[in-house]
């Protein structure tokens, strides 16, 4: 009999208590946002769609090899052993795990999952799966600067001028070694330190032309300016043509 009345009192008391809690929350601010219009701030280093800094990439296949699901396909031709004529660099988001491993192994820090200009893009909403295999290339074939460089070499050859040896280039690149320390401590492949980090000076297997570096940097801008998304990144790279400049990852701290 006692439990009978205790039950009645208990149920009324706890119901009122619960209603107090819900009423208290009635006045709390909403925690949700109207998603597509309003975005939550993304922290630095979040994992979303990839961006590729095509000018810097040395086509070393490390990202494709570390990928647990083999979602990265890359294909390029080496022209004159140092210029890359891109055919394909695609990430298949049907498979991608967003595990960040490809970013960490990159010796040149040229593939990223956080958009450096802050245009967060991470939603994989589609009704057509074939659209999820995304090509990250901004242009196929040689970049404009490379085209000019190759043309120049060809013209030189035709004229009988020998290409200067690579030795002075290695000397010029030396000061950059200190700055080329990868920012994230986790990824530190050995060969990364041997080459200048600066984006504009296109490092191709040790052969480097110091005289061409500034001009390349100047021309990198129009080449990369076509698609808007990567423009700031490319511009930042162009600015950091100075070998003493800090490595690329630190330019997107803001």
């Amino acid at each position: 009999m006692l439990t009978y009345f205790k039950n009645i009192v208990d149920s009324l008391r706890t119901t009122v208590k619960g209603m107090q809690v819900t009423f208290k929350n009635l006045r709390r601010p909403e925690t949700t946002v109207s998603y597509p219009e309003e975005l939550l701030p993304m922290p630095k280093g979040y994992r979303g769609f990839h961006t590729l800094d095509q000018e810097t990439c040395i086509y070393c296949f490390q990202c494709a090899r570390i990928c647990p699901v083999e979602c990265i396909e890359m294909k390029a031709d080496r022209v004159e052993k140092k210029f890359l004529a891109w055919e394909q660099f695609s990430v298949d988001y049907n498979k991608c795990l967003f595990c960040n491993l490809c970013i960490e192994v990159c010796p040149k820090d040229c593939i990223h999952m956080d958009r450096r200009d802050g245009s967060a893009k991470f939603a994989l909403i589609t009704d057509d799966r074939s659209t999820l295999n995304v090509d990250l290339l901004l242009y196929a074939g040689l970049s404009e600067t490379d085209q000019k460089a190759v043309a120049k070499i060809a013209a030189d050859r035709a004229a009988g001028i020998e290409t200067p040896p690579a030795k002075p280039a290695a000397g010029a690149a030396k000061p950059a070694e200190g700055a080329a320390k990868p920012a994230e401590g986790a990824a530190k492949p050995a060969e990364g330190a041997a080459k200048p980090e600066a984006g504009a000076a296109k490092a191709a297997e040790g052969a480097e032309k110091p005289a061409e570096a500034p001009s390349k940097a100047a021309e990198a801008k129009p080449a990369a300016a076509k698609p808007a998304a990567v423009k700031p990144a490319a511009a930042a790279d162009a600015k950091s043509a100075d070998p003493e400049a800090p490595p690329a990852p630190e330019t997107h701290e803001a």
Binding site: R129, S130, N133
Partner: protein
């Protein structure tokens, strides 16, 4: 208690017949011949000074033939191993019990009546590795469909190309851009 101590205890209890110690670099294990498995397991569970009352894991492994790199002599025959990990709540220790099964006859006694927890583990081992547990109350596939062919965790497993009209080709079926 370590595996060596447990082996000594078992020998003292008169259960040591045929037992051996597998001394790996990390976790040593008790190696039990499959004929004696139930007796040893029952003792491990019921003896108060052992009291392995929690069956943690049942693992089946397909060990392939291994040859010495230089002499080409066979250092390991192809066989199956079943490993039971037991935990004693009272004595705060974990023990691995190993049994080797010949490749041609992967059958071992079930311990599902000693630890009901073994029921699903043994079904899974049967499903994925293809080891039969004698005396299991309900030995059928648990994770894979009933009509699946083969046991995927065997090293010689061949991936099917198709299952009931579903294309299982490894290559992506969607086109590249």
């Amino acid at each position: 208690m370590t595996a060596a101590e447990i082996l000594a205890t078992l020998e003292k209890d008169g259960q040591g017949e045929g037992l051996a110690l597998f001394a790996g670099p990390q976790d040593p294990a008790l190696v039990v011949p499959r004929e004696r498995l139930r007796a040893v397991m029952t003792h491990l569970r019921d003896a108060r000074h052992l009291a392995f009352d929690l069956l943690v894991l049942v693992t089946g492994t397909h060990m392939t033939e291994k040859k010495d790199a230089k002499s080409q002599a066979i250092v390991r025959e192809q066989h199956f191993e079943v490993i039971w990990h037991l935990r004693s709540v009272r004595h705060r220790c974990v023990l691995a019990v190993k049994t080797k099964l010949p490749f041609s006859d992967p059958e071992v006694d079930s311990v599902a009546d000693l630890w009901p927890a073994a029921n699903w583990h043994e079904r899974e081992t049967f499903d994925l590795v293809g080891i039969t547990f004698r005396g299991h109350p309900d030995l059928r596939r648990i994770l894979l469909p009933d009509d699946w062919v083969g046991h995927p965790l065997r090293k010689d497993y061949v991936y099917p190309r198709e299952y009931r009209g579903i294309n299982l080709e490894v290559d992506a079926p969607w086109p590249t851009p």
